[in-house]
Symmetry: C2
Subunit: 346 residues, 2 copies
């Protein structure tokens, strides 16, 4: 159990359940420990659960939490069952503990499955690369078709439809932020038509076969002014220098500082108001975290984003984001292949 | 503070934050108490938060939880700050409590905003009705266009695109479950083309202006056998009798029993393996819960689903779901207007 003291871990975070078993329904849990490998679901998934290899399957027919507690009590006897305290709510943990029987007790024990999920194996890297490639192809199609005159919401809907037609889902709702909306790092696509001469920030990712991608490009719809050009070039330089700083063993905060220093020293201090990046896998935001206050260090086969940005309130914004595989000596692979030089699209 | 002992409540569940302030970003919280009305967000939303009327706005620039704890400590002095224990994780609650300063302490205090959200006012009822009407219009279009020969995934993508073209979002990923897939109450749309003579279960809802709808219809793509017809008619009868049992003051478990008894008595006991329904509002699943073990009673202007189903493993399934407003003497309005008699579509 990864060095913890518990006799079994109750895995209830659905992404972790999917990682362990492949189950993709809306209600399931795993009880894992020495000699314990039980997948638990309810009536609705009894049929699909029967196809999960290598796991004992239990179907809870009564109250869900009582069913979990009964199975956990049976499994650990008078021992301890660990809960994923980084996912379970205070109320659920209290109710679960009250329902345990015999001498069983509950303990806080999160992050174990996340630790397994962090460094990706070859199959996972291939799945993420395929999701990134699909995203890149949608960028190419989108810029070929042009942006001007379409609303942000229309472009976002088109992006999602193209993903779905190719068997993927958006890994998050796409951000299409034109002109002054580009200064809002998490703008929601609105009914503003993209104009000529706008900077347009486009942040999107696909989820394909259970794995996510994430990529941002900023393009211009015509000539943009000197300020927009300056922050574009500066963001690109921050992106490139940070990519050169990536390697297993590096502190994530130090990689963040490389990009942040470039932006601060050019006089835009404070306008890069989010972290440099984050891990990507089954979830579009997972460990590690790259930011000024991160305590993570990069490890081989981490898949992380490198996404500096500069946001000028009321005017415009730029973000340039690549998705990379961390190697021992540097970036092992940059999965975001779409061009990064400032491009004018129609 | 609704009878609780705390001096301020920290509202962190984003739907509750949106209910109180209208904020729709990905990170925000409210601190509410006597003379305390503070909306808290981070850098990314500093611009959009400035537009929130009637609230003091605080932008946390450092670590989020430390910022929340500092503001909460200032607000309650040596008093208690309530956390939404039904949403906050065990780990976050522990870390938050450790960061409180002075004499401030934390207490479990969930469900207060949910209680405000439960009985809908006229504006909310109108928003839900509009979302339901949009869903009904998509049913009409879909059945006019026909189902046979299209894959479940294609139909689901088309449904979502039609919602988005009309300014809505799906309130959950649509379920399109044809033939034997209909026996899986939460089937994911697959690459199986809908055949002729299939029962097809379609469960979908729109989210429009922040409010959700939810509706299920089951149709036939040609002549279906005697068994399919029997379970269709039985499910419809269970739906209709349960609708007649709805009224403010009724126990939710008793309304569930009306539908369940019809199905059990016809010899299909055990094949209606989920609750009769649930509340719908800003979230597609909210209070009250209608099921055999529910302890809720219906109140006026609850908006709830009535959705009995019969599932025959490996063969087919039927579910018929209406969305209704609870009135003092019965159903005040059935927001699902699409016909429920067994319909054959192409």
């Amino acid at each position: 159990m990864g060095g913890s003291d518990v006799d079994a871990l109750l895995v209830s975070h659905l992404t972790n359940v999917e990682y362990l078993t492949g189950f993709t329904g809306s209600n399931g849990a795993c009880l894992v420990g020495e000699g314990i490998r039980t997948f638990i679901t309810d009536f609705r998934y009894a049929d699909s659960a029967a196809g999960i290899d290598g796991w004992d399957v239990e179907v809870v027919s009564g109250e869900w939490l009582a069913g979990l507690a009964a199975l956990a009590s049976d499994a650990v006897g008078d021992g301890q069952v660990g809960l994923e305290d980084d996912h379970v709510t205070v109320r659920t943990a209290r109710m679960f503990a009250e329902k345990l029987s015999g001498g069983a007790s509950a303990a806080d024990c999160g992050g174990l499955v996340e630790r397994l999920r962090r460094s990706k194996d070859a199959g996972e890297l291939a799945a993420i690369a395929a999701a990134a490639e699909l995203t890149d192809s949608i960028y190419a199609e989108l810029f070929e078709a042009g942006l001007s005159g379409r609303t942000e919401a229309d472009i976002a809907a088109w992006v999602m439809a193209r993903m779905r037609e190719q068997g993927a889902e958006p890994s998050f709702p796409p951000i299409i932020a034109a002109g002054p909306n580009g200064a809002l790092p998490h703008a929601e696509p609105g009914l503003r038509p993209v104009g000529g001469g706008d900077l347009v920030v486009i942040d999107m990712g696909s989820k394909l076969d259970g794995y996510c991608s994430d990529c941002t490009r900023t393009v211009a719809t015509g000539e943009v002014g000197a300020e927009a050009t300056e922050i574009y070039e500066l963001t690109l330089r921050a992106n490139q220098l940070a990519l050169e700083a990536v390697a297993a063993g590096r502190e994530a905060a130090a990689v963040d500082a490389v990009a942040r220093d470039v932006i601060d020293e050019a006089g835009f201090g404070g306008s890069f108001g989010h972290g440099l990046g984050h891990g990507v896998g089954m979830e579009v935001h997972e460990a590690p975290r790259l930011g000024p206050r991160s305590e993570d260090s990069l490890v081989e086969n981490d898949v992380v984003t490198i996404e500096p940005g500069i946001y000028l309130s009321g005017r415009c914004g730029v973000r340039i984001e690549d998705l990379v595989v961390v190697g021992t000596d540097g970036v092992a692979a940059n999965l975001s292949s779409h061009a990064k030089s400032l491009t004018i699209v129609s």
